[in-house]
């Protein structure tokens, strides 16, 4: 089995893994310091009858040092990861040319809307949500005409920015694709965006990573990342029949 | 242990009083949670909040507020009286405070009954009620009435609960301590401590009255 992080399949993955390794190294230093220190002291200073401990109440300089070092490290770490954080989730971090996909989560299904040739997602209205129209797609909207609505499947073109418009119908769900290192809670009442670039064509899984009820563990969807050519072919093949989105 | 049991110098406040201050700190956090949620919900609300005075009757509540403030004053007088050793006056003013608090609760209960009759409930507006018609006519913003009801009844309800607790404990003190004459010029901790609580409850109400009724 794989003893390390999952394969990398998005633009964020390498840098996130880099951070993981970096923090692992940073934390390894105090870890070994303490653990080896403990073991060493346990053997070196094990009690001998009639002997006393060394009578001291501390050493200010020493304490200054091991206060300052963590402080500096932590602040530095904070600044570094923040610069990256802003690129991932920052309010205006989403590239302008990002390809929009609608991801609508409900107990316990994922409903995905792909924009079709016009590259625009149709308007969705909560009041339109019904058995026949699970995403509440407003079919009167011109952009909606060519939208592809599919269940528990997400098809993406590789190598171009994707922005997922995340909506939840009932409870909190969470959009999570380990290989992309992307996770975003989907909160009813909020309209949340998450963007990333899927870099490696292949099949992956969306897992719901926020407890959402009885079927939480079953709330799973397949992500298929195609090359742009394959993706266009797939989209043409799945172009909506007239009734897509119900009557 | 209350002094005179010898102890290292702490704050120069006897235990019961200190305990009450500490307790009030937690009460502040409790009401901060309720009021904070109200503020967040109201600012994040979808659209207009109901205009003041449309649903709630400001006049009656204003009088009620006045009543509570008076009871706070009478509490001060009771404490002053007992500090001067005038036990009779202390009894009188304590009784006045109890009456003031009791009236406040009574009027609040009356107000609740009236509101529920008009169709204002914690869940918002009851179907087929007077307020429901006003919402239909557009005199009230239907979108936020649910939040209005939820926050109003929760905050005022829990304040009312606190007032009731205050009245009960004051009545208890009155019957077990004040009447039998257990309070003296030297020993009247109960009056002071319950007074602190009473002033706090009063203060909270003034805030609630402002943000719930007037704004």
């Amino acid at each position: 089995m794989n003893w390390w992080l999952p394969p990398q399949a998005s633009n964020f993955a390498p840098r996130i893994d880099g951070m993981f390794t970096a923090i692992l190294i940073i934390t390894a230093i105090p870890f070994f310091l303490v653990e080896i220190g403990v073991i060493w002291f346990v053997f070196k200073y094990r009690g001998r009858p009639g002997q006393k401990g060394h009578y001291t109440h501390g050493n200010t300089r020493l304490e200054m040092i091991w206060t300052a070092i963590p402080a500096v490290t932590m602040v530095a770490l904070g600044l570094i990861s923040n610069s990256f954080w802003v690129q991932i989730k920052g309010r205006n971090s989403v590239p302008a040319d990002a390809y929009p996909v609608g991801v609508h989560a409900k107990q316990f299904e994922w409903w995905v809307t792909l924009p079709g040739p016009d590259g625009k997602l149709g308007r969705t209205v909560d009041s339109l949500i019904s058995k026949a129209n699970p995403t509440g797609l407003d079919t009167t909207d011109a952009d909606a005409k060519d939208d592809i609505v599919i269940r528990n499947q997400l098809h993406l073109p590789a190598g171009r920015p994707i922005v997922a418009y995340l909506t939840a119908e009932d409870v909190i769900h969470s959009f999570y694709v380990p290989e992309f290192r992307v996770r975003q809670d989907i909160v009813p009442g909020l309209h949340i965006k998450a963007w990333f670039v899927a870099t490696v064509p292949g099949k992956y899984e969306i897992g719901c990573s926020q407890l959402c009820g009885l079927g939480h563990y079953k709330m799973r969807a397949q992500v298929t990342v195609h090359t742009q050519a394959d993706f266009d072919a797939w989209a043409k093949e799945h172009a909506p029949q007239p009734q897509a989105g119900g009557e | 242990m209350d002094p005179p049991f010898p102890a290292e110098r702490g704050v120069d406040v006897y235990n019961k009083k200190l305990g009450m201050w500490v307790f009030l700190a937690s009460e502040v956090m409790f009401f901060a949670a309720l009021i904070g949620s109200y503020v967040i919900l109201r600012f994040g609300a979808p659209g207009e909040w109901a205009k003041p005075g449309v649903v709630l009757n400001i006049k009656i509540t204003a009088f009620n507020t006045f009543l509570l403030i008076c009871s706070s004053v009478s509490m001060v007088k009771a404490y002053a009286a007992v500090s001067d050793g005038d036990i009779g006056k202390m009894r009188f003013w304590l009784l006045m405070t109890i009456l003031g608090g009791a009236c406040f609760v009574g009027i609040q209960v009356f107000e609740y009954i009236h509101l529920v009759e008009r169709g204002f409930v914690p869940a918002g507006v009851r179907e087929g009620s007077e307020l429901a018609e006003m919402v239909a006519k557009g005199e009230l913003p239907g979108a936020t009435m649910g939040l209005y009801g939820s926050t109003f009844f929760t905050m005022t309800g829990f304040h009312g609960f606190h007032v009731t607790c205050g009245v009960i404990s004051m009545l208890f003190l009155y019957l077990t301590k004040a009447l039998p004459g257990k309070y003296t010029q030297q020993d009247h901790a109960g009056i002071e401590v319950v007074g602190l609580y009473w002033h706090f409850v009063d203060l909270v109400w003034i805030i609630l009255f402002t943000i719930v009724y007037l704004i």
């Binding site: 951070m19 934390t27 999570y176 407890l211 563990y217 | 290292e8 936020t144």
Partner: protein, 587 residues
């Protein structure tokens, strides 16, 4: 409520003529109340453990009938096969019981009650009757929480964090009355916690024995004092939130209902505003207790006493401004995320100070490896891992990947089990003689420590790995996911070790009960410690002191020069000591 505060307590150790009921059941004696809390919380520790075992069975062997599961009703586990609804109840109640009723009561309920007056040289708590009320409301709260497992449709299923709307709407979760019981129970719990806290705070401020200045207070008391402040201010917020949740369920309010303008994230903000101080409520007292054990076991003054105190205060302060780090991926404004990340990372600083100070306390000591010391060392080593793994999830981009995975589960168990629970085991052994007048069996105590230490690591360390593989939390059956099938063997390994970990706890329980009746009689100061409690007979009498002790020095004067023994009780007067200035009577 204030009227209850009246305390007609006469601190006379001799002629204790109270009836059995007033002595052991509705007792106002802080020591008895502490012991009542001990039995209550150990019971819930056991319950929480049993629930955990069932969780591990399902994760290790999904869908297989659980041995002995046949006794469970059809609605939980037909034929011993755990149902998803029961699994979610297990997950929820394990968290709830362990956090609120096991760890928190063990630390704040047991040790704050038992230790504070003894270590400060007070007759009792400032408000003994409020103290009793605190225990009994905790008791009611616990019973209510437990009963939720037995009502129709069972206990809540929204996880111990009770995220709305899942917890607020029965049709989403499928829960019935059990959900309301959670809220009601938590309200009682809040009451208990506030009553306790105001008692501890008042006692520490006003009831210290002559000479027990602030900086002569033992670190355990310092930690418990700061913890009480946190509890006092944090728990009411939870109570407020629980009340809103309750009203949402029974009155149909709309606080958290987006369709009526309510806000889902409001719950998370309220919960974690309480929840993060709560996390430190669960670890600060453990740190304090461990400081006692380490100093005693090393026969050395604690290294950097003042910085230890300031570290506690610093952690407590920071705990108020870090709650957002539970919500990095919750849809909260990412800019907030940035600031919460920085504050969170800063917590590493005071934590590091404490760890290094413990380490340096052992340095050039004369170490005695009695069971409490072993547990204390276990605490330092394991807590270090837990603390460091926290840095991973504090870094927001990385948290986006490991949030809500088993990496988090591993982290919290390294802190709460590897940290708090080791400290608790050590403290139980350490103060057992003062509580019951007998020693716990050392040999079995050491066996219990080593087996626990080993199986603890084999159980929880692999969780980091399955977390790195992306294993989400609260999954009924991980094998549904292709990317999790490879780690299933690790899940089996974890489960087996978890069972062993649970099994070795039996040693502790047996040792506990056996020593209670058959343990060897303890001498007055079996650990040769400096604390005031050890100047009292075992078990300490009602009212503790006939004449209050006078304190001449700090609590960690081990191996002091010019003294024949390697310890020096706080109240032993040396020729050089001056009498402390007494506060004017009735100040």
């Amino acid at each position: 409520m204030t009227t209850v505060a009246a305390s007609p307590h006469t601190g006379h150790a001799h002629h204790d003529d109270r009836s059995f009921v007033s002595k052991y059941i509705f007792s106002t004696d802080h020591k008895i109340i502490g012991i009542q809390f001990l039995f209550l919380s150990l019971f819930f520790l056991l319950v929480g453990g049993i629930l955990a075992m069932q969780i591990r069975w399902q994760l290790g062997f999904p869908g297989k009938p659980m041995p002995g599961g046949g006794i469970l009703p059809q609605t939980m586990a037909p034929g011993g096969v755990i149902l998803p609804e029961y699994y979610l109840q297990l997950v929820t109640m394990h968290g709830t019981f362990m956090v609120f009723f096991a760890i928190m009561l063990l630390l704040v309920g047991v040790y704050a009650n038992f230790i504070i007056p003894l270590k400060l040289g007070a007759h009792d708590m400032a408000f003994p009757r409020i103290n009793m009320a605190s225990f009994w409301s905790a008791f009611v709260s616990g019973i209510l929480m437990l009963s939720s497992l037995f009502v129709a449709d069972g206990a809540p299923r929204a996880g111990w964090t009770m995220y709305v709307p899942l917890s607020a709407r029965h049709d989403y979760s499928g829960v019935g009355f059990g959900q309301e019981l959670w809220s009601i129970s938590i309200i009682f719990f809040g009451l208990s916690s506030v009553l306790g806290s105001l008692n501890y705070i008042t006692t520490v401020i006003n009831n210290r024995a002559p000479g027990m200045t602030w900086f002569r207070m033992p670190l355990s008391v310092w930690a418990l004092f700061i913890t009480a402040v946190l509890g006092l201010l944090a728990v009411p917020v939870l109570a407020g939130a629980a009340i809103m949740l309750l009203f949402e369920q029974v009155l149909g309010t709309h606080f958290f209902d987006p369709s009526a303008g309510g806000q889902v994230l409001l719950w998370q903000h309220l919960f974690w505003f309480f929840g993060h101080p709560e996390v430190y409520i669960l670890i600060l007292p453990a740190m304090g207790l461990v400081s006692e054990l380490i100093a005693n076991g090393s026969r050395k003054p604690i290294f950097g006493y003042h910085s230890m105190v300031f570290a506690i205060v610093g952690i407590a302060f920071l705990s108020w401004i870090v709650w957002g780090h539970h919500m990095f991926v919750s849809g909260m404004n990412p800019t907030l995320g940035s600031s919460f990340m920085v504050t969170t990372l800063l917590i590493a600083v005071p934590t590091a100070i404490k760890v290094f100070n413990w380490l340096s306390t052992m340095w050039r000591g004369n170490l005695r490896f009695h069971t409490p010391m072993l547990h204390a060392i276990g605490f330092v080593t394991m807590f270090t891992i837990g603390g460091l793994s926290g840095i991973f999830m504090a870094a927001t981009p990385l948290d986006m990947f490991i949030h809500d995975t088993y990496f988090i589960v591993a982290h919290i168990h390294y802190v709460l089990f590897g940290g708090s629970l080791f400290a608790i085991f050590g403290s139980i052994v350490f103060w057992f003689p003062k509580m019951f007048g007998r020693m716990m069996n050392e040999a079995w105590g050491k066996v219990h420590f080593w087996l626990t230490f080993i199986f603890f690591n084999t159980t929880f360390f692999p969780m980091h790995m399955i977390g790195m593989a992306g294993h989400m939390r609260r999954l009924y059956d991980p094998t549904i996911y292709e990317f999790l099938r490879p780690v299933q063997p690790l899940n089996v390994f974890i489960s087996v070790n978890a069972f062993l970990l649970f099994a070795v706890q039996i040693i502790f329980f047996v040792n506990f009960w056996w020593s209670l009746f058959k343990g060897e009689k303890a001498s007055q100061n079996p650990w040769e410690d400096n604390g005031l409690e050890w100047t009292l007979p075992n078990p300490a009498p009602h009212g503790n002191w006939e004449t209050p002790p006078t304190v001449y020095r700090g609590p960690y004067e081990f191996s002091a020069p010019g003294v024949t023994e390697d310890y020096l009780p706080q109240n032993r007067k040396l020729p050089t000591d001056r009498e402390p200035a007494l506060s004017p009577a009735g100040h």
